[in-house]
């Protein structure tokens, strides 16, 4: 679109590749013919189709995750030019303005790398289970409408409910550290996942699950599990680990007020802890 980009014929994409967990990582550069309005996904599609690096050498296609390509599914998160974001909404023209001539892609830094740009984010879903991020309805039969809700309450819950568990918030968090358990030979997928879950048991939950706990504590029926959620939030790896760097809210692609959720969680756990002392 800019004058310089119309003249550009190609650009380079440097990708941090890793064949499998435990393997060394290496950089590989690909040369992509320039066209306007590309995004990182279409670049990766082109790489898959040509399977040839910038030196013209044949190589395996780069593995990556994606699904909706509309920034609502949360699958295609990666570290692009040093910053974690969704690759579907990362536009090549903008990225080349950020960093002339080259785009740099890396897998997310806080999750075990599966291959190339694919990471295992199951820890985030397990965290949602820890904070019981659901409404505990009796059953799925017809019992009429749910609780009435003010517009104000809906407007507060809706943004929190847009969280797609993409992991940007925790990847940019200086308090969230990677936990990786290597798979043993002949270990089943399930056994390996169980060991991984055990290893991260006491590790930080991160912003997204904290915010989800606040979402459900705000709902009339959801609040019936509020104490359980606050126990989880004040347990190992809970809200106390937050260091208030506030990167989470800065990188959240959905602009979810994560730091407000964190402060609310701070308030609720404070009251909860004091109550626990006096109710003993």
């Amino acid at each position: 679109m800019t004058a310089s980009s119309t003249k550009r014929e190609s650009f380079d994409v440097r990708i941090l590749r890793q064949a499998a967990p435990g393997e060394p990582s290496r950089w590989e550069t690909f040369r992509i013919p320039y066209e306007p309005n590309l995004n990182v996904i279409s670049v990766l599609q082109k790489i898959a189709a040509m399977a040839r690096n910038a030196e013209g050498k044949e190589t395996t296609p780069v593995a990556w995750d994606c699904n909706c390509l509309e920034e609502v599914c949360g699958a295609c998160t990666m570290v692009i030019n040093g910053r974690v974001r969704q690759s579907c909404s990362a536009l090549v023209d903008r990225l080349l303005e950020e960093h002339e001539g080259e785009i740099e892609l890396q897998p997310m830094t806080k999750f075990p790398v599966v291959r190339d740009l694919v990471v295992d984010r199951s820890r985030m879903f397990r965290a949602l289970e820890k904070v019981k991020a659901w409404v505990p309805v009796d059953d799925y039969y017809d019992r009429g409408a749910g609780p009435r809700e003010s517009q104000e309450s809906q407007e507060e819950r809706y943004p929190l409910s847009e969280c797609m568990t993409c992991g940007c918030c925790v990847d940019a968090c200086p308090q969230y550290s990677k936990v990786e358990v290597e798979r043993r030979p002949n270990e089943s997928i399930e056994e390996h996942q169980a060991r991984q879950a055990e290893a991260e048991k006491s590790e930080f939950l991160g912003a997204a699950p904290i915010s989800q706990a606040m979402l459900f504590n705000r709902h009339a029926t959801g609040a019936m599990l509020a104490d359980d959620r606050l126990n989880a939030l004040s347990g190992p790896g809970g809200i106390q680990v937050c260091g208030n760097a506030q990167n989470c809210v800065a990188v959240c692609p959905k602009e979810i007020p994560l730091t407000t959720s964190i402060a609310r969680a701070g308030r609720q756990t404070t009251v909860h802890a004091i109550k626990k002392i006096f109710d003993r």
Partner: protein, 289 residues
């Protein structure tokens, strides 16, 4: 392997981190008093010595106050703080946001303050007040501050430019660390929750930290002024000794020889130096520098 019980620190992480926040605030309250008292040196040796003597007039309960509000909180805060800092993964290069810089700066100042406070307390107070230790400490440049010769002894310490600079850095680090810490505590305890409220609180906290930094720097400037010449040190000492004599005689403070300066050329009030037995609680670090 599975089902290993998490360690004591992990199980009580929430409580420990909340106490860390609380002890920081308590010690922070002390730091404010400390820096404001020290800044009175700008008003001259007499004003400063008056404040110091007022504090020491607490006598026997002073150590209790010190332990509850100063030593225990800061020791807990420092060591937990080191633990917290060890686990951080700073990423300011990729995420150069203002709050992220403050996050990293909070930990950097924390580490500096850890070293600075240890050194500063050693240099002025000597850490412990056993006689044999004080002798050792003094040989190593510790225990240089004499509460009953407050302005003159600190003036001497501040004669060294490097020391002054390190103190200035310490004061600024403390001012930032304290009020940025107050701001994060407001989130930790859930006092300010919405972005707008957090932004307002941040403005107030940063203003307070600038103010406290200025107060602290003025104290250093005042001390350097007293220490700027032999003349002014002598003058200050004379004032201090006179105040000491008067207050001891009035029974306002106990006569305590190790809280006084011992310069080679000092030959004043020899009658009071002969009472080493009156030095109570020698094991207590009881210093209000």
């Amino acid at each position: 392997m599975a089902g290993t019980e998490p360690s004591f620190f992990v199980r009580h992480e929430f409580l420990i981190r909340r106490l860390h926040s609380l002890t920081g605030i308590i010690f922070g309250g002390y730091v404010c008093v400390h820096l404001f008292v020290n800044a009175s040196i700008v008003g001259g040796a007499q004003a400063f010595q008056k404040n110091v003597l007022a504090i020491h007039s607490m006598g026997g309960i002073l150590p209790l106050v010190e332990w509850v509000f100063i030593f225990l909180p800061i020791l807990f805060h420092m060591f937990v703080g080191i633990g917290i800092t060890v686990g951080m993964i700073p990423n300011n290069k990729n995420y150069p946001y203002e709050a992220n810089w403050r996050y990293t700066l909070q930990r950097a100042t924390g580490l500096y303050l850890f070293l600075f406070i240890l050194w500063h307390v050693f240099q002025t107070h000597g850490w412990f007040h056993f006689d044999w230790w004080l002798n050792v400490a003094e040989r190593w440049g510790g225990a240089q501050f004499s509460p009953y010769n407050a302005a003159s002894s600190i003036g001497l310490i501040m004669q060294n430019m490097l020391v002054s600079l390190l103190y200035a850095l310490g004061v600024l680090a403390a001012a930032f660390h304290l009020f940025n810490g107050v701001w994060t505590a407001g989130i930790t305890w859930g006092i300010w929750t919405r972005p707008h409220a957090q932004a307002n609180a941040l403005k107030v906290c940063l203003a307070a930290s600038v103010l406290l930094g200025a107060v602290g720097l003025s104290a250093i400037w005042g001390a350097r002024k007293i220490g700027s010449s032999e003349e002014s040190i002598k003058q200050a000492e004379a004032i201090e000794n006179e105040m000491y004599t008067v207050q001891v005689e009035a029974g306002l403070i106990p006569p305590t020889e190790h809280k006084r300066a011992h310069h080679a050329d000092s030959d004043e009030t020899p009658e009071l130096t002969a009472t080493p037995a009156s030095d109570e609680n020698p094991t207590h670090p009881s210093d209000e520098d």
